[in-house]
Point group: C2
């Protein structure tokens, strides 16, 4: 008997929730990608209600884009990749949600990013955007490193670079530390005369505000600024170490994802840089593969 999930026209939706947006993709084995939708923030750590709303918005837009009637959603298998669901309490809350799908399969955004990057196969990913973390999935074993959040973790990320830059600038403006080209750059950026002007504008800002400053650090590093170089090298050294740690799990492939993947590349340990391969598919496709695999496993159990 053929597994139900192997129906070529079975519909799947892959959903990738993130801190700023939520992406949904409708797919069938027969027709490939049928439609996509974009919703608002969907990080359950920052609000469960908002996350579920963004998931529904992106789902409805994707259904419309695919030319499907909204009630068809009850026949669609959903794969969801969301931050924070490695915490059992959050995982439970979301599985308790009265979702409209035929069935919902939930995992972390890291897991779906990894499955996507390696087109359903084993592998490892490093994500360096606003935050930073590493994940590998090899022979059924998932492990992750980093991703502990802004200020106490996420070294090598955009937010970390922005924070380190601000720290160096404030120290110089107080006459307590070495000169850096970043000081003039930040004074211009913040239209600031003194350290307090900058400190006031950055106080209580979220990590995304710090991440926006990362490009200045790369610019100054390329121009040879010693402080900026030290920040970039320190961040890249951490990311390289993260990569070595992941490679110790023997993933067949390693990809880097996120806004800093490209600018960081030239600063990585050369051994690591040459191991990094392009992600094959985006995380929302990873969420689709995850749903497909989950349906298949489930059907195999039923068939036994």
């Amino acid at each position: 008997m053929m597994a139900k999930s192997a129906n070529e026209d079975q519909l799947f939706i892959g959903i990738d929730g993130g801190g700023t947006k939520c992406r949904a993709t409708i797919y069938s084995a027969q027709h490939g990608v049928l439609g996509t939708g974009l919703g608002g923030p969907a990080n359950p750590l920052h609000g469960l209600e908002r996350t579920l709303e963004s998931i529904m918005v992106s789902t409805q837009l994707a259904m419309r884009d695919a030319g499907l009637q909204l009630e068809t959603i009850h026949q669609v298998y959903a794969g969801l990749g969301l931050a924070g669901v490695n915490l059992p309490s959050l995982y439970e809350k979301i599985t308790e949600w009265e979702h409209p799908f035929k069935q919902m399969f939930l995992t972390t955004d890291l897991h779906t990013a990894c499955i996507g990057a390696h087109e359903g196969g084993d592998g490892a990913v490093i994500i360096t955007g606003t935050g930073s973390c590493g994940f590998s999935h090899v022979k059924g074993q998932s492990v992750n490193y980093g991703g502990h959040g802004f200020a106490l973790g996420d070294k090598g990320s955009g937010a970390w670079m922005g924070l380190e830059a601000i720290k160096a600038v404030l120290v110089e403006l107080d006459g307590l530390g070495p000169q850096t080209a970043l000081t003039q750059i930040m004074k211009n950026h913040f239209n600031a005369v003194n350290a307090m002007d900058i400190a006031e504008q950055m106080a209580g800002q979220p990590s995304s505000s710090y991440a926006k400053l990362a490009r200045y650090v790369f610019d100054a590093a390329h121009q040879g600024d010693v402080i900026a170089l030290a920040i970039v090298k320190d961040g890249a050294a951490y990311v390289s170490q993260l990569a070595h740690r992941l490679l110790a799990n023997n993933p067949p492939r390693l990809s880097m994802i996120g806004g800093l993947a490209e600018p960081l590349n030239k600063w990585l340990d050369p051994e690591i840089a040459k191991r990094v391969e392009m992600p094959k598919q985006p995380p929302e496709m990873g969420a689709i593969y995850f749903a497909q695999q989950s349906v298949l496993e489930q059907d195999q159990k039923v068939a036994l």
Copy 2:
């Protein structure tokens, strides 16, 4: 003609607002300290309403403690030292307050701490508690350094030490950094098995929660832990630099105030350590001196 403020029985109240409590002291030249009162948090940067309420609570308690009728408050000159009032907008808001005092004189908590430490005379202070900053008042010139707030400044403070310790522990728990005795200490403190347990408990915590961890860093440093030693030495080096910067303004005295003043002392540049003198009076007495001086200057202007 003798200045009115020189009346020996004129009442003064000195108020020192802080992030966790507000202290008030009633004083007259004739009788010295008449009463004291303790109120809740009074940092206007964290809420103006709450600050004014805490000021009133501490004032009423001090009046009661002094055996004075509450309506006597209209005859009392008040000196107030509050964080954040170096920002013109916040200074204005508080001066617009319909206070119950005969007259109110407002300055920063740093200024009153400095006046108190040197019993009304010129000098410099370094405050290292939850946060860190430096201030000097010499020949009518006030200057301050640091105090830019948690995560982006306040190096050498308790919160900074706690954060650096957590960062090191998370990196070790991920297998990405050197061993440190702090890891077992923090695992016990947080009843944690892995990095995520600690990251979750510290995410979004205020600087005071990080500052509570500083004592572990000193303990581990005393036991020779290399990572803890590096944190303490790095923090102390910054505080020493802050002191050198302040001494360049030629203050006759230098004091250190706050919970880290004592434990940090032995790690300071020896040249600095031997310059540090005990504060003569607490900040609320500094606020009284400030009010006395302000009344005197005002009367002198009137007399001219």
